[in-house]
Amino acid sequence: MDFALTNEQEMLKKLAAQFAENELEPATEEMERNHAFNAGIFIKMADLGFTGLGISPEYGGSGGGDTEKVIVVAEFAKKCMSSAATLSIHLVAPKTISRFGTEAQKKNFLPKVTCKGGLAAFALTEPGAGSDAAAVQTTALYDEATNEFVLNGTKCFITGGALADVLVVFAMTKPEKGLKGMSAIIVEKGTPGFTSGKIEEKMGLAGSETAELIFEDCRVPADNLLGREGQGFKIAMVALDSARIGVGAQAVGIAEGAVDLSAKYMRERVQFGKPIASLQGLQWYLAEMATKTEAAKWLVYYAAYLHDTDKPFSKEAAMCKLNASENARFVTNLAIQIHGGYGYMKDYPLERMYRDAKITEIYEGTSEIHKVVISRAILNQ
């Protein structure tokens, strides 16, 4: 058993930490003020190769696996959760194309989103299909005359959806077959019939765009079918397993950031004539926050390790996401408590971190759905 990061992973952690401190943290204020995605920051991420993580250099990617993604996303989340979420969710679609795509699809679509600042999105959720992903209503009916799929329907809460250059969209190609009639289809920005609708205003994640997507007789070549027809639900579930590890990393990053800020504040803040770090009540808070965060981190690393070594990881991905996300809320809550009034003020990052942490319990599967996934995996063993 080896708990040590490799030399490359140590360097990657250092690079991600430098980038987060120098580029992401200073951008958070503007993101909060404008409630908008920062394209300039994303291009800087692309220039350094972060947006091609997990994809082979042959297709414009930077290489690495889920462990490398976890390292980077957690470092980003310490300083700017919006950027961590943007990157983490961006990586889902290229990874899915890389796994299920044909050679032609990989050569055509991956370089557009791995190295040149292009954004990718993963469009599954619909107004009536959240946790119940099988309830997708969007259709993609095959038109034999033109050898195209014709998409009709609405997707909602799609991260980066309105800005994305390449999207993996889930739609029913054979609605009458239910789950087995769902397929994954690659759609490019600017395809006629594909428009974005409402851009959501959210409780947190101000710098990450969340969009409604509308498909009205949107025609895409049949060659854009990802995997086999009817394989969509399976593709979605595999992609979400990996995405959950990404959310676990986001949650661990926020929690680590909150622990760091709390320790710093406890050393500096003087009340009753001495630093509040001398108060045992707060020491216990800090110890509990740090311990739970460390445990959460290693479960996330473990799930990433299983995925990177091609072992079954669905249960562990759900476990790491469930545990890390609940811990992120717990830790950011206590961190605000330690900071008292200052923690509640917008001049300090903790109230933002608290709002940002909440989403990790909801997206890419709620905590409750993860408990279903985990218990089913145990009971079916």
């Binding site: 360097m11 990657l12 980077v72």
Partner: protein, 266 residues
């Protein structure tokens, strides 16, 4: 064409500075970083590499742990790393260090269009001596405090920053240039650079590899061969805090005069 960049791993003096009982720095207890001016030297070399496709070799003298730094510099874009490391080299001052580095560079080989870049000075000793001494021992022309470097054929034009202005110097290669922070902003490592860094060549030159060079004389290398003796190292006490004054000149002058008067300075 190749550029040899001499780099040094130094304790991060922005943190707490620890001193041994013998007056030397307790390096083990401090975070190690690449000397900041050396990062500017590497960036200058990488910019020339971007333009000309030349080879960039990073060279450092230090313990085995310095390979980590060399890998990071290769992740930024350097093509090759050379670690000069031996027990016999330990404790070298600037004079002995430049002897050893000169021998190492001779071992690597210098050709007509090659360049050597060093940082102006290291933040641990602040001597600014190794670069110039290295050039002397290799019998090469040198320019210090470079704030701009341009290369054309076998010549480079260097803008040298002085306290009261700039001096522009045209110099034949091979030559040595020391770089200052005004020269450029060092780039980040890249993800693919990191994932490729460990497959790039990294050579260790030990005492055996260099001992036949006349510069490697046991009397002029290592702690015993170093003419420098450290009498005492200490962290100077902090001077008073700085107050920044904002506003128009007349108001600020008035406030300043009041402050100086209240302290009986004027």
């Amino acid at each position: 064409m190749k550029i040899i960049v001499c780099v040094k791993q130094v304790p991060d003096t922005s943190g707490k500075v620890a001193v041994n009982v013998d007056g030397t720095l307790n390096r083990a207890s401090m975070q190690a970083i690449t000397n900041p001016d050396d990062m500017n030297a590497l960036e200058a070399a990488l910019q020339l590499k971007d333009k000309t496709g030349c080879q960039v070799i990073v060279v450092t003298m230090g313990p085995l742990a310095a390979t980590g730094m060399l890998r990071e510099l290769m992740a930024m874009g350097a093509d090759e790393g050379v670690l000069v490391s031996a027990r016999e080299f330990g404790g070298s001052d600037t004079y002995a260090t430049s002897q050893i580095l000169a021998a190492a560079i001779k071992h690597i080989g210098l050709e007509a269009e090659d360049l050597i870049f060093c940082g102006r000075q290291a933040i641990d000793g602040d001597t600014a001596q190794v670069g110039p001494q290295l050039a002397e021992k290799l019998n090469l022309p040198q320019v210090t405090y470079a704030a701009d470097i341009r290369k054309e054929g076998d010549c480079i034009t260097v803008k040298r920053m002085l306290e009261d202005g700039y001096m522009t110097i045209l110099m034949k290669t091979p030559c040595m240039v020391t770089c200052i922070k005004e020269l450029n902003k060092p780039r980040y490592m890249t993800v693919s650079g990191i994932l490729n860094a460990c497959s790039k060549p990294l050579t260790t030159l030990d005492y055996e590899a260099l001992k036949d060079d006349p510069l490697i004389d046991p009397a002029t290398i290592g702690l015993k061969g170093s003419p420098t003796n450290i009498f005492k190292s200490f962290t100077p006490p902090r001077k008073g805090g700085c107050i920044m004054m904002d506003g128009d000149a007349r108001t600020v002058c008035g406030e300043l005069a009041n402050m100086l008067t209240s302290k009986y300075i004027i």
